[in-house]
């Protein structure tokens, strides 16, 4: 009788087991994933003195090692003279050329000017693709009429390589900036439209209904429920569109450009300046990677909730 365990099995007056009517909230907030240490011990605590630099995750370490290995093979192959420098200059020569591109430039413009021209085209095209693609995607996702009108257009446009319609765009828009931006924008449009439409179709019906029951007008449902729900998809579409845009860049700058990374690579190829070609390719890859990181950061900041609920 004195032990607290025994009390559970004793007959108790009914009044004793009644609960207060307003019960406190159950449980504590969930821990964010990963914060709770398994076993309560930090890994590596027993492995001796703490390292002075932040630990590199294994996945990143493997990636860095692969990159270093690739550079090493490249260095050895060129160092031993297995491939003539005309076809493959050494990594050092390319790095040196990159530095000179930054300082002196190539074909009347520094690397920053080439890159600025290219980025301007890609971002102008992205702005256009989002301005047209997001409303079009909403129309496809929200209305049968919108889907009926726009679906065939998108499906027609999507599989055509931008190079195929480049001549047509030049006939229509001339050889100025407009044609270049237009070609890049056309390449970016389908991923933005399709991702937006898929996002709209995936909007939880219940979330819409709850808003309607709270008195939301159709415009308010669109603004406060559909658009925020669709934002993760739109950002995914933006990532894919940026990739498509960069791939189209060089082709768009083939025609009557005087600046741009793609144009720089093309001119360098005409002079057989392979080091410039390689440096240009590295710059395109590096900038594309940096943009990818920016969009991922935007995803974390804007739609950090996605995938958690």
């Amino acid at each position: 009788m004195s032990s607290p365990q025994a009390r559970l099995f004793d007959p108790v007056p009914v009044a004793d087991i009644s609960l207060p009517l307003l019960v406190p909230s159950e449980g504590v907030p969930r821990q964010r994933g990963g914060e709770a240490g398994v076993g309560g011990e930090t890994p590596g605590a027993a492995a001796g003195p703490a390292p002075t630099w932040p630990a590199i995750p294994p996945r990143v370490a493997i990636s860095l090692a692969t990159l270093a290995g690739f550079l090493a093979v490249w260095g050895v192959v060129t160092g031993l003279g297995l491939v003539p420098p005309l076809f493959l200059p050494s990594p050092l020569a390319v790095a040196e050329r990159l530095l000179r591109l930054v300082n002196e430039g190539f074909v009347d413009a520094t690397l920053a000017q080439h890159l600025g021209a290219s980025l301007l085209r890609v971002f102008a095209a992205l702005a256009a693709a989002l301005a047209i693609g997001v409303p079009a995607g909403l129309a496809i996702g929200l209305s049968t009429i919108g889907r009926g009108i726009l679906d065939p257009i998108v499906e027609f446009l999507r599989p055509i390589p931008p190079l195929a319609y480049l001549p047509l765009v030049i006939i229509w828009a001339g050889i100025g900036e407009t044609a270049k931006v237009l070609v890049i924008a056309l390449a970016m449009l389908p991923p933005v439209i399709l991702a937006t439409a898929a996002g709209v179709r995936a909007v939880d019906r219940n979330r819409v209904n709850v808003a309607r029951a709270l008195g939301a007008t159709p415009q308010q449902v669109l603004r406060f429920v559909v658009l925020p729900s669709t934002l993760p998809s739109i950002l995914t579409g933006t990532r894919i569109a940026l990739g498509a845009g960069w791939s189209t860049l060089v082709a768009a700058e083939l025609v009557a450009a005087t600046r741009g990374v793609g144009f720089m690579i093309q001119s360098a190829a005409n002079f057989l300046a392979t080091d410039v070609v390689l440096a240009g390719i590295l710059v395109i890859a590096g900038v594309a990677f940096a943009l990818e990181l920016v969009v991922r950061l935007a995803e974390r900041v804007l739609v950090g909730w996605a995938g958690r609920s």
Binding site: L19, L21, V23, S25, N209, R212, A213, F224, P228
Partner: protein, 267 residues
């Protein structure tokens, strides 16, 4: 029963000859509800009970205005229901919270739609959170909350818009048994404090008997009302708590209700 109930009070909710049929993809239509007559006076907690597929959720959706009735009419006070509106708040089985908003802004969502200033919105949201036992949790992201807490936020979100009728579609169906018991007491407490007219859909006999001031049993398809009686336990539970579940009368009523649902005959 018309606008005036047996007690002479104006009905808060009146449903007359309601029928709902859904068109089938391959032609024809399926009848989900037939000839529903229901009058709910203000302040009642009506539990809609029935087996899966009997049309309880369809009835609630029709009252909420999500799906229009094929025939008949639904009125709140004297107003015809033609679509969703803030006079009828909903709490669904899936909490349907907005994960891009924290708990407080989820609760204040209905006020934001009415362009109520931020300061007042926050104040009223905090009050509603306190009412459901989540005081101080306003800054939490929805994914930091447990299932029961999320459903509390969902309830607070419906309450803050001050609806005349609260429609709850199996709101506790996805919760674990212990949380569910706590939430039942919370629903009773909210009912006592706010005096709202509540329609509560469930397929749990115990929950129906414990919460309802009146139980309406639907059978179908096509769904129709086969039982409609007042229940004494909910009002008692407000005074004495969950111990009424172990009263012999409760067990007797449970068996009787079970017979109604499975045989459609009132013993």
């Amino acid at each position: 029963m018309g606008l005036i109930g047996l007690t002479g009070h104006l009905m808060k909710l009146t449903i007359h000859r309601l029928g709902v049929r859904f068109p089938q993809p391959r032609g024809g239509e399926v009848e989900v509800l037939r000839g529903i007559e229901l009058g709910v006076p203000a302040g009642e907690l009506v539990v809609l009970l029935g087996a899966s597929g009997c049309g309880k959720s369809t009835l609630l959706n029709a009252i909420a205005g999500f799906s229009p009735p094929t025939e008949g009419e639904i009125r709140v006070d004297r107003r015809h229901v033609t679509g969703p509106g803030p006079d009828r708040g909903v709490v669904l089985q899936t909490d349907a919270l907005y994960p891009w908003l924290n708990a407080r802004d989820n609760v204040g969502f209905g006020l934001r739609l009415r362009s109520i200033p931020l300061k007042e919105r926050r104040k009223r949201a905090e009050e509603a959170l306190a009412l459901v036992g989540l005081a101080g949790k306003g800054d939490h992201a929805t994914w930091q909350l447990s299932g029961g807490q999320r459903q509390r936020v969902s309830l607070a979100r419906a309450l803050v818009a001050d609806p005349e009728i609260l429609l709850m579609d199996e709101p506790l169906g996805a919760l674990d048994a212990l949380t569910r018991e706590q939430m039942q007491d919370l629903v009773l407490e909210v009912w006592r404090r706010t005096g709202k007219t509540i329609l509560f859909v469930t397929h749990s006999l115990d929950e129906a008997l414990y919460l309802g001031s009146r139980i309406v049993v639907l059978a179908g398809p096509p769904g129709r009302i086969v039982f409609d009686e007042p229940v004494p336990f909910a009002r008692k539970a407000l005074e004495t708590g969950s111990k009424i579940k172990s009263l012999p009368e409760f067990s007797t009523a449970r068996e009787r209700l079970r017979a109604v649902i499975f045989t459609g005959v009132t013993p």
